[in-house]
Amino acid sequence: MSDPVDLREFVSAFVTEAAEHLEVANSKLLLIESAARGGQPMLRHVRDVFRALHTIKGLAAMVGVESIVTISHRMEAILRTADQASTALSLDTIDALLEGTRAIEVRVKQLADGLPVGEPPASLVLRLDTLDAEPEAATRAITRATRLDPAIAQKLSAAEHEHLATASAAGQRAYRADFFPSPARAEQGFSINRVRERVSAIGELVKVLPLSVPATEHAPGGLAFVILVVTSALPAQLAAAVGIDADAVIALDAEVKPEVAAESDAVEDELIVNEPARRGIVRVDVSRLDEAMDRLSSLVVSRFRLSREAVRLAERGVDVRTLQTLLAEHSRQLRDLRAAILKVRMVPIAEVLDRVPMIVRSLRRSTGKSVRLEIDGGHTELDKAVAERLFPAIVHLVRNAVDHAIETPDERARRGKPEEGLVRVTCTEHSNARLVLSVSDDGRGIDRETVARRAEVEVPATDAELLDLLCRPGLSTRDEVSTVSGRGMGLDIIRRVAVEQLGGELAVSSVWRVGTTFTMTVPLTVSIVDAFTFECAGQRFVVPVAIVDEIVEVDEGVATRLAGSKGNVRVFFRRGESIPLLPLEEVLGLGVERVGARKAIVVRRAGEPIAFAVDRMLGQQEVVVRPLEDPLVQVPGITGATDLGDGQPTLVVDLVALGGVVRMVRGAAA
């Protein structure tokens, strides 16, 4: 027997998966809520929410997070009752359930952050328990007007019968299509999971039932899956999705009206085009991608050495043209590889924006304002790290819009505006790999005079000046300004996120009494590294922690100076290994060498240690690295710059690369 398994190792996997299930639960609850306003029960969504919570509960139990088990157990009980009794959830119940998913979210986050997980909120538990005790009793008559075999019909729940029977009301039709699995079909891409996915893509899957059939060549497993679906797609499209002949698709309801046949091809094409996207999704920890990036970086360094050798050969009169062509190609391939790795880190913007309706929903309740949310997310993808930093800023802007900019229904009516306010979030991709995200409202706009008076300055003439004014920390935290001027707190923070953390911009345009738009323009990708900060020759630098082998104290008076070396290369011994020591200020051409006790940062280049003497270490922190894109400042060993909070760029040095080019830089600096 091997070592015992510790299930706590699965905590991070649990965190990831729980987040997915919570997202399903939240979005389905919102669907149920909007349907409930229109008096629809949406029972199939109820079941999805139930399943999501049930899975969370089971997993939480396995990894030992009792408070999540408690909350999800109570939520589940409510949903089970509603599902079994085929009753609609009341708005109050839905609200309590959403409060529950929030409470679970908080606890999952605590778990992810390594914090102690909080007890379930007593008020929430009480609320859920009371709801559970009084399920709504209004059971409705269920329609069962479909042509189905009784054997199949008896296996369907009330909700499923209703779903099939009411298809025509929604301009759709109910169909049955039978799928016979076999190894041969599986090879062609027709396994039940794939068929299920494809059918779900073109319609609402009501139920799939396994059915024993006599084993034949057609059905070697003696098995058929009966697929019941409600869709506006044509029988031929459904047949293509299942991989059967069109005449094998059976309509379950009376014909509504003939469909336009011409659309068929287009939709089928779309089906094929969409196909690869749904295939084989792999979930990867971001740190593994970072690791791949590390490996790539060392490849780039050895690539650099290669090209240097090629230059040497050329200097000796060797014909290196073929070699140069190969090197250029190699360079391109490295760049492509880097782009490919970066691409894996990208997430659709929709994933970020999907959470906005939740926020507006709760704002609607807390402010009592009537607000419509429009989201136009597009198909832009952005780096996960950017998405994570962007989201709080979006939340802030949306909250400000609903809280402060949108007027009360009365006020809007007086101004001749529709009572329902509008908040629109749009997102487009710009050239130059930048994302433009704007949050606009049709609220009261910003009153420049009032803002200026409060700040005791002149009325801002331009939108840029207005933004500067709004971003004054002193001004924006004063509540009376926020309510009078129509703009809330924290704009300075949003600007800092957009500008400092993401290397982007924030802009505003506002018309008094008409509305306001905030626009963030940020790069689609950003690199964040854990870095040491240190000082050398009076200048601050950072070096990525990942490339540092160790940091040691050295007394340069003690380290042996190498005879015959042009500069001040010394050598010292550490754990039986001799390590060359270079003063960094000299390598970088920053001026005179200091002698005495200093710190040395040891890195390894192709396994060999090399140490750089610096004045002092300042600390360690995560920094956002912005590349030095301009050719004027692209120099070896400097990979980018970061902002340590003083507004000035601090250079990021790649000591490994510097170790490789050290001799040449010296030559140039001399």
């Binding site: 970072d290 360094v301 911009e505 590294v529 301009d630 120099v635 070896p636 790649d654």
Partner: protein, 161 residues
């Protein structure tokens, strides 16, 4: 309608750039020096979240350095995707020359190291049109082109971690 120009004063001369090539004017609080960059590159600064190189026009023109003052400005120019700052002693005016800008006489072109591509007079004052491409151009004197890790294509390196 004639074009609007931004006036950059360096030493005693007034240089101009089309306003369309100037993104903004910033006060200059010093730049972070970049080791091994060309000598005329004062360093890098943050402008709207981007890391932007700053060219010291005095050094570029081979003029003696002066202390920076409250009047010192970074003129942020935008050429294609590039943002590059130019440090000038002063920059606050805009002019709209009525006369046509003509190429400079050869002597002036040579004296200004090829950084001036036009000349115009307005209200008894001479304005020299800068050749931005040359000023921020890549022909550099630090002799390190071969140190770049890429050859040919966009020179961007993978970040080490």
């Amino acid at each position: 309608m004639s074009t609007l120009y931004v006036v950059l004063e360096v030493a005693d001369a007034a240089y101009i750039l089309p306003a369309s090539e100037v993104r903004e004017l910033e006060t200059f609080a010093g730049a972070t020096p970049v080791p091994a960059a060309a000598a005329f590159v004062a360093g890098v600064v943050h402008i709207r979240g981007r890391v932007v190189p700053v060219v010291d026009l005095r050094r570029r023109f081979g003029l003696p350095a002066v202390e920076r003052t409250l009047e010192t400005r970074v003129v942020v120019t935008e050429v294609g995707d590039r943002l590059v700052g130019l440090v000038a002693d002063r920059a606050r005016e805009l002019v709209r020359p009525a006369a046509e800008i003509t190429p400079p006489p050869r002597v002036i072109a040579e004296q200004t190291l090829g950084f001036v591509k036009g000349i115009v007079e307005l209200d008894k004052r001479i304005y020299l049109l800068l050749d931005l491409d040359r000023i921020i151009g890549e022909e550099q004197d630090h002799g390190e082109r071969d140190l770049h890790l890429d050859d040919g294509g966009p020179r961007r390196r993978a970040l080490p971690r």
